[in-house]
Subunit: 381 residues, 4 copies
């Protein structure tokens, strides 16, 4: 029941791995180990129980397919996973597993562990996109080209300014994503109704230990307060849109009648099953497809915000796969556009020909200065 | 890189199989075989070439993971698949593979083959949902219950009417889906630019053969005319919403303070990792989650409608995974609500108690007659 | 507090009038008059009361601004409107106003009266779009042009086929809309909880009278069954997408470097505040803007489907403005593209030049025959 | 062609005024005046011309209806407005109007002037919502209530914690909106293709003057870089969702069978046209309706991000009405929930009764401490 053919074409192996079953299970076990260690540190469970849980979490092998069947029946991953983990243990250790925690504590924490890794991974490809564009922007900062508005020839622009603007949008969106992840990748630990009951008043201290161990930030429980998840989703939607702006431009510039820039030639990339002569803008296709899909995914997460009471029915449960999809699409888009930006095939002759055809002169105004200003302001991003 | 834990919880194994890599590859090979057979029937390729292609398509084993990598590089499934199939053949047979076809011919036809199977599968669970509800509607057609509007007690209603209305919505949505699939599950065959060039004028006849062999309907090429796909997507979105209306009602009725109806007890279903006493409306959760995700997915497909020229860049390529996701969610929702409808645990005492508490009498007006009217009109659906 | 500058640019005066305050009030009064007449016909209220209500409904003048303030306070239009209407009457007539009806009966019926008028209005402009395109499709059925796929030159196509395909999409979408409106423009009459209580068993007969008088179809109450509204919304979303496909193509063809077709010259249309020489594709802009907005609006309506119990909280109340917005956008798009289709400025020289530049010959395969097939199949639409 | 009945019910008169035709025209004239003043300050146009433009901008009366017709024809507001303004002036002053500017410079700047005013207005009602909730959170910080998860009774919670969490969500969303507006409410000034051509190298200085005069921030031109607009839209979507979370809870708590809290009694509010006894949660209805509509609107704006080249076709033109709609919905929701929060009718007897019925004791764990932590962290927001 794999669906690589549907997912791989729009994403990367590395990002698929971040959200793979194996990663999910590993993070879930890490949650249980961190929970036990934190509770032992605060004296809520015996230290040897925490050590046994850590040991079992590190060595247990869980079959994802079987676990998925049980999770589907239970309606949550935590119940079967905790059962399996407990079965590995005895006595106090078995009893101490998942103590005072609820399914959503595990689910939300696992999601945030994946979010942090996904953002880091993505940032690397985004840096490649921008680095490629900054070099091109500088190279062509003073190269006049005909500017186009509403898809019509307008007045001259500098070719570098066009690329600098696209890069500025991506850099700015990447920063917003990084900032929202940093602010909202919080450990979740509240227990059944978010009161941290049954912990002798040590719940807050336990949450701090867990956050430290897992590399997440800490907050009071946020089971029914999903603004952080929504903000990460929105930041991804904006980023995917910014990458697609570059793809839109490259695909328009690559039209045969325009020819100012093309995707680089990569063996096996961009062919046609019907026309051997064609060089399809396949990287742009990935980025534009992603941008058609992302807005609806962001809307899905926004729709779940009005959660019911202490923990909602249906809303937060829908977030995981949707947020994963957004990261998968962003990764596919970023990798595709990184290749495009790094190897963009610019045709100065075509640029000059199109400019001449427009008969609008070649005054690029403050175009080169604006490129410098953009580089100064956005390049570090 | 599997993601069963994300997908299985919201869908069914049977529907996951419909959109699995194995199914996709099998349909793609069936497309090539049907194309060759149709071209042989019209004398465009030799009969023995078609037979060899059919033979190879039936016996070849393709590794989905390797194919996915090549498809991701090429930007389309057809290119590596055709290459692999050709490598199995020689001479005229190899040359005849995929003759005069384009990648999108294969992609669209495969998608429609999956759509037809998915609708059939879904219809069975939808019939279960409705059958369960029709019985309940008849049973409680004259049972007065307090009606609620804007989440406030209003005037009496019949308990059966409430369920009959939910069933009518689902039945009506199921019919729309069936009708849109019947009307729009068309073979795609147009070649590079939808002109059926290179076929000696026999393209239309070839398309008819293919449609017959594959169990699809026939039309002129529709590469950049995606209304049919959008209509199927919208019908799925409406269906998922109709199923969630039932889920919304059941989850409200199941509240402890209301208690008029509950999901049936199923071993392993609806537990809580923190509270052994709880009986969560897990079926409703699946349906409500699906309804939070579906509208955005429908929007994604609508966003791709303004396709560029003969075959667009990014739009149709985004449809496959999104339409698959809609069917996966619909299947999960339908199966979950089938169990709920078939085993709904109705508490007449609670119904009577809540009615009495409202002090609005027990006049259900034409409630029972309306149930009969609904049964007469929607039951066959 | 008018907002013509935001709405007029994307719609037409005629469609704005359909959804204007004056029209809304007129339809609401027509609902009350039809309700009273139907109840009198069935002997539920005195005939003279119905006549007085009809008379008052026909002559009363209601200030929209004051009514809007009261409706905003009440949360519904019906309460203040009924109060105003009752104040015009005395005794039995006053008491008979809105008898056994609920606010949503009025709101839904008014919306459907507007939907019927909106569809009729829209159909006229859609017919203009298609008529213009059918003529062009015939004219250029055999004119070879370079076909483009994934925004790259591919193989030849017939110029007429390109336009025929766009027209087929629009015609097909217009038919779906007409069919969904015909099937779902139903009178709403169910009373507080949809049981038609308090009507001596004559509720069904009264609903039939009302439907006849108002030109709507009849069904059992559908307060919490919103599939019909969603289907109309989805059909509009598909239509707006189909219109934008034409706009996408025209705007691409109108690029200076391509030049195969342009929007017609219309005085005052398509200028630039910065560049006197420019001829902007302003009609395409309207249609493409509409297509960016429509998918989200459709999603909003789908999101409201899981209505609570007998009449929901928040869902159906959100539908009116969103459905109106979809019709407004569709009208703006249809009118804009009607002008474009009727006056499309085709440049055969540019078509020939681009074809020659592609060096792909001029074999258009079955292009002309496909145009004929499309005309035969879709032209009546 | 007014549509108060559709818009007023979901918004406030003050926010409707922010986006009214009069406000739009006033801001457009302010843009032209500021542009001229800045150009005069830099010596690009004569000082007396700037003074005449300022004078004319301050005194001219423009008919919105006529302007809307011309704007609809032109496809942009700027062209007719500049024409009207020029007609008021002579010689150098007439020639200096809109010098080196483009339509989008005016449109974007006007939108941002409205965004700034809208955010300020909204912030006041959001402060009321939070202030009301903080008081309630403190009052009931230690009041045990049954907590509910997945719509089922779970473990106890403190009633104040429930409200504190809702408030924290709103406060956090309000801060994000304020921050995105502060960062992205930028003057737009770039001329036809964003190069600030024709200004003797003084374009950057002129933009700074304009930003200062208009109270906006300054950046290089951002015509085709719409991340800022999208971020504001997303922040509004998140805010509307956070307000609806409170509405969801209040509407569930107000159910007759639960009865823990109700909207305050306000004369004329929440009645029913069919049932005099009912007290509908009308404020919650406004907030929940807004939350059904907002996600699709955010998606619309995200969809427009991949703008074409220097200034796009259709995307940015769609943003104005959609962003306005989001602010209108947010304002309606905030005002409605401000009344609810300030006057929430809490029933401690019902809270105690429901808690007792659940038989889960009354241990609220660290509930009160978490309330304090939330107050310390989010209250200033």
């Amino acid at each position: 029941m794999s669906d690589l053919l549907r997912t791989r074409i729009s994403s990367t192996p590395a990002m698929l791995a971040v959200f793979s079953d194996d990663a999910t299970i590993a993070h879930a076990l890490a949650f249980e180990a961190a929970l036990a260690a934190a509770q032992a540190a605060e004296g809520v469970i015996p230290r040897h129980a925490a050590e046994a849980i850590a040991q079992a979490s590190a060595t247990i092998r869980i079959d994802p397919a079987a676990l998925a069947e049980e999770a589907a029946l239970a309606g949550t991953l935590a119940i079967p996973l905790v059962k399996i983990l407990r079965a590995e243990l005895q006595g106090e250790a078995a009893a101490a597993v998942h103590r005072a925690a609820t399914s959503q504590d595990l689910a939300d924490t696992v999601l945030m562990l994946q979010v942090v890794r996904a953002e880091t991974l993505l940032a690397a490809d985004l840096a490649r996109v921008c680095a490629g564009l900054w070099v091109l922007a500088e190279t062509y900062a003073a190269t006049p080209a005909i500017g186009r508005t509403l898809l019509q020839d307008a007045m001259p622009v500098s070719f570098g300014l066009r690329l600098a603007q696209a890069a500025a949008g991506i850099a700015s969106a990447a920063l917003r994503l990084k900032s929202e992840v940093a602010g909202n990748a919080k450990v979740q630990f509240g227990g059944a109704t978010g009161t941290r009951a049954g912990l002798e008043g040590k719940g807050s201290a336990i949450a701090k230990h867990m956050a430290g161990a897992l590399g997440l930030t800490v907050d009071v429980p946020w089971h029914a307060r999903r603004e952080g998840v929504a903000a990460i989703a929105a930041a991804l939607g904006i980023l995917i849109g910014a990458l697609a702006k570059l793809a839109r431009d490259v695909s328009l510039l690559a039209q045969n009648a325009v020819g100012e820039a093309k995707e680089p030639v990569i063996a096996g990339r961009g062919g046609s099953s019907a026309m051997a002569h064609k060089r399809n803008p396949t990287g742009c296709q990935v980025a534009l497809s992603a941008a058609l899909r992302a807005p609806g995914l962001v809307a899905s997460i926004l729709s779940g915000l009005p959660a019911e009471e202490e923990r909602g029915l249906g809303g937060w449960q829908a977030e995981g796969p949707v947020l994963a999809e957004l990261f998968l699409l962003a990764a596919g888009s970023a990798e595709a556009m990184a290749s495009v930006a790094e190897g963009l095939d610019v045709d100065e002759t075509a640029i000059a020909r199109n400019l001449a055809a427009a008969s609008m002169g070649c005054d690029i105004g403050e175009g080169a200065a604006i490129v410098s200003e953009i580089l100064a302001h956005y390049r570090k991003g």
